[in-house]
Symmetry: C2
Subunit: 191 residues, 2 copies
Amino acid sequence: MGRPYEFDRNETLTKAMDVFWEKGYKATSIDDLVDRMGIQRGSIYNTFGDKHELFLSAVEHYGDVVTSRTLKVLEADGSAVENIKKFLDVIVNTPPDRRSKGCLISNTVVELAPHDEEVANVVKAIMKKIQSAFQKCLERAVEAGELPETTNTRVLSNFLATSTHGLIVTGKSTPDKKQLKDVVDVILSTL
Amino acid sequence: MGRPYEFDRNETLTKAMDVFWEKGYKATSIDDLVDRMGIQRGSIYNTFGDKHELFLSAVEHYGDVVTSRTLKVLEADGSAVENIKKFLDVIVNTPPDRRSKGCLISNTVVELAPHDEEVANVVKAIMKKIQSAFQKCLERAVEAGELPETTNTRVLSNFLATSTHGLIVTGKSTPDKKQLKDVVDVILSTL
DNA sequence: TTTATTGTTGACTGAATGTTCAATATTGTG
DNA sequence: CACAATATTGAACATTCAGTCAACAATAAA
């Protein structure tokens, strides 16, 4: 009982996530969050705790929503190698202004992970999830005969995860789609 | 004439650079800089301008000192391909606690480049410098017969630069040297 | 020695930041 | 209707922040 919430928790958390994604942790003020989340300071603290706690929830939310949705490409039916190509193409084909936001996970690894163990753990779990998704995809490719039996899927999945981060960082600073496309071709040549 | 400086400008700028490198731009306070640079606030403003201007100088200094020194490996005599391997090994073999600092350039691309054109330009110039160093190295490898004449050195150098950023981001969050070593092996397999 | 010039110092300022809280509003329950 | 429980609001608070400045110190030139 008691007074019910006047907003949807998930929707509001998504809005907070978007702000952190755009501006980073330190550069985001509570005022920014009030503006974008559409609820007052007190409600934020009452519902999500302090800024740090809200950020942790936002990163977890990103893992649950954005990362999961993105990784679905890798699980699609048909050629697993083709799925990996499609996954990388998503990054390349994201318009420059949205690409400049990068990825909340890599942004957070760079800004906070070295100084914030709690954040680091959440982020590591999501990175592990990405690597695992690549590995499963590669294993499927081996089973289907798309890749040789000798393929070391663990090593190759780490390479793909690292390459993804590299693409995202490079993509943040260059609007040149062709340059990214060329890099993707080299990445795919290792398969 | 007038009173002479009591500190060495380069030394002091290096100390500022180290703080920004460790903590990032937003998370670094003027007090942090006063503590580490060993001069008072007034002297910082008198010598380097405001925080933003000091940061720009620090990033340029990084390009002049750290990046240049690191890229020297690529210019060494002998096998150019071997030089690239050595370059990547430097990242892998950096101890985890220092690796967590990452690279001031990639840190800055992620934290500031999308919102700060002035910073973005400085950083882009340094990234271009890295790519050019790779390309020169690759061209030398082609000339020496280490790589086939058909090698597209521009594309491959972009791939190596992107891979370097990826390694640095991954290296920030994992202390596992073997994982990075494996990734480097895949990167080198493209040559 | 005097003067002009410029570096040094640290207290001070105003603005921004994260957080709290008392007053109020809205629901379910007795 | 009265009460308990909980959400909402925004003013208020303490802290931190970047930046300023008047007083002082150290040098070279006259």
